[in-house]
């Protein structure tokens, strides 16, 4: 019974933690611009992150080693450093985007300028990392994040033409108002927002922090196989809201409030309140994950002590990296760089860095030295290799598309 409770709590947490500012922006904006024509990218990204997070969790559980620890060991100092630098930069931009997103949500709720909220939230973020136990932190924000399920209710309340929505998803057409380059740029952004660069680092380090053992492999599987796809449905619902409400009105998502506009139209003030609370918790969760990931990957590369399970005094360099990263990200947002624009760049750049971190996961999940008998099945290897090929193509295409479309804004 206790086990069942633990598993369901894990699944609920995974739903809340799946969505972050990248999904809120990318799903709403692509819905507003392409209706459901990019739903496939969201589904593909969800399948990808499910496959790779399950592997990262399984490797960590069985080898007691986090992903970046093994990236360094298997890729060596040089290539490992390239991966570290690329992952760190994208993760840093993501953290800044999340902080900007948090400030925007608070600005919406309080009608104060968002820039007033950046420093207080960076400070709050750090205090949680410094003082709150891993499991408490993760479960609280994950559960509150469930308020975002309101978007599914909103879709249903708007009473859309379901067959037209489905048709738009299964027969993707680029609307006349948009270019093909934009379409592919946004496909990559959706992919990047869904897989994220930090998830495997955070998830595998979390497995070590929570001291997962062989018996927890089932927790790993249910979290990922059930929680992530349900989180994906939330993203899909946000895209549907964009398609139903924003697309016909020609509203382009320039501000985070536009992601919530359809929820307000469908459910009024109460709906908006749920949406803001859920968005706040989900983005706060992602800020914690990215801030911690910065510390995790640097400490693991260099072989320093790390983690929230030890006294901060015993992992000083890990905590110093987190502090410096959070301050840097807060300053970047405070420089009044447009948070939605920052988010768009961060999610597009995920695709550039992803192949470096996803390849070692795929190789290690097939290496009996790390996972003993629990190597990948033929089916997961087949799917994961296919997904990796997509990532490589996306990685090569991102920068040219970014330049051609001027960041997806043509």
């Amino acid at each position: 019974m206790k086990r069942l409770l633990e598993i369901s709590l894990g699944v609920l947490t995974a739903i809340g933690a799946f969505v972050d500012v990248g999904d809120l922006v990318a799903s709403a904006e692509s819905g507003a611009r392409f209706r459901m024509a990019l739903a496939w990218a969201l589904v593909l990204g969800t399948i990808g992150i499910v496959l790779y997070a399950e592997m990262a969790g399984r490797i960590a559980t069985l080898s007691k080693r986090a992903t970046f620890d093994l990236v360094r060991e298997r890729m060596g100092a040089g290539l490992g450093m390239v991966t570290l630098v690329a992952s760190f930069l994208v993760n840093f931009l993501t953290l800044a985007a999340e902080l900007g997103g948090l400030a925007l949500v608070l600005a919406l709720a309080t009608s104060l300028n968002y820039l007033l909220w950046v420093i207080p939230f960076a400070a709050a973020l750090w205090i949680v990392i410094w003082r709150v136990k891993y499991s408490v932190m993760e479960k609280t924000v994950g559960l509150v994040g469930l308020a975002l399920l309101v978007v599914i209710v909103a879709v249903w309340r708007l009473g859309p033409d379901w067959s037209a929505l489905l048709h738009s998803a299964t027969h993707p057409v680029v609307p006349n108002s948009q270019t093909h380059a934009d379409y592919w740029y946004w496909a990559i952004s959706i992919l990047g927002a869904t897989i994220t660069v930090y998830e495997p680092f955070f998830y595998s380090s979390g497995a070590i922090e929570e001291k997962w053992g062989r018996n927890d492999l089932i927790v790993n599987r249910t979290n990922v196989y059930l929680g992530f796809p349900l989180g994906g449905i939330v993203s899909l619902a946000i895209m549907a809201l964009g398609a139903i409400f924003l697309f016909p009105r020609g509203i382009d998502v320039q501000h985070l409030s536009q992601s919530g506009l359809p929820v307000g139209a469908a459910l009024g003030r109460a709906g908006i309140a749920f949406f803001l609370v859920g968005a706040f918790a989900a983005i706060f969760a992602a800020s914690l994950e990215t801030a911690l990931s910065a510390g995790y990957i640097v400490a693991q590369y260099f072989g320093w002590p790390w983690g929230k399970m030890v006294k901060p005094k015993e992992a000083p360099r890990f905590h110093l990296v987190i502090i410096v990263t959070v301050i840097g990200a807060a300053l970047l947002v405070q420089s009044s760089i447009e948070p939605v624009k920052l988010t768009e760049y961060a999610i597009a750049l995920v695709a550039v860095a992803a192949p470096f971190t996803y390849l070692p996961i795929l190789l290690l999940a097939n290496d009996p030295r790390y996972v003993r008998t629990k190597v990948n099945s033929f089916l997961s290897n087949f799917l994961a290799t296919g997904f990796f090929a997509v990532l490589v193509v996306a990685s090569v295409a991102t920068i040219p598309l970014l330049i051609i479309t001027k960041g997806g804004s043509t």
């Binding site: 080898s63 620890d69 360094r72 060991e73 060596g76 100092a77 040089g78 490992g80 450093m81 630098v85 990392i129 410094w130 003082r131 709150v132 136990k133 891993y134 260099f302 072989g303 320093w304 002590p305 790390w306 929230k308 399970m309 030890v310 006294k311 901060p312 005094k313 015993e314 000083p316 360099r317 905590h319 110093l320 030295r369």
Partner: protein
Amino acid sequence: MSEPRILDAVQDLLDLTLSDKEERPAGRVEDLEFDESGHDRPVLTALLSGTPALADRLDGRIGAWMKSVYRRLHDEKVADPVRIELGEIQNINGRVDLRIGAEELGIGRMDHWIVDTFLGRIPGADHAPE
């Protein structure tokens, strides 16, 4: 003593995590030192660790940059890689377990400085998060 095993220096030793006598992570095996005099093949004499050893191994700008940052932060005399004699090794199996503490080796000197000047003054530095 366990049975002798054959290890591949690059596959099974380079880049492994070092674990000191208190089982705390103490850096990585950044490089290996070989004696190439008088033998028909090189003989492993020590493991090298610490930032200078890593900087030597990384080519180009990033290695040079790491080295110069490290020099600025430390005394002139500690700018060499940390040598770990083979006798200090307890066991090698996915990680290198050492018989001595990281501090005796001179690994993690920065930690004291960070704790003394900064982190140690923040309330809660002495407790794991609750």
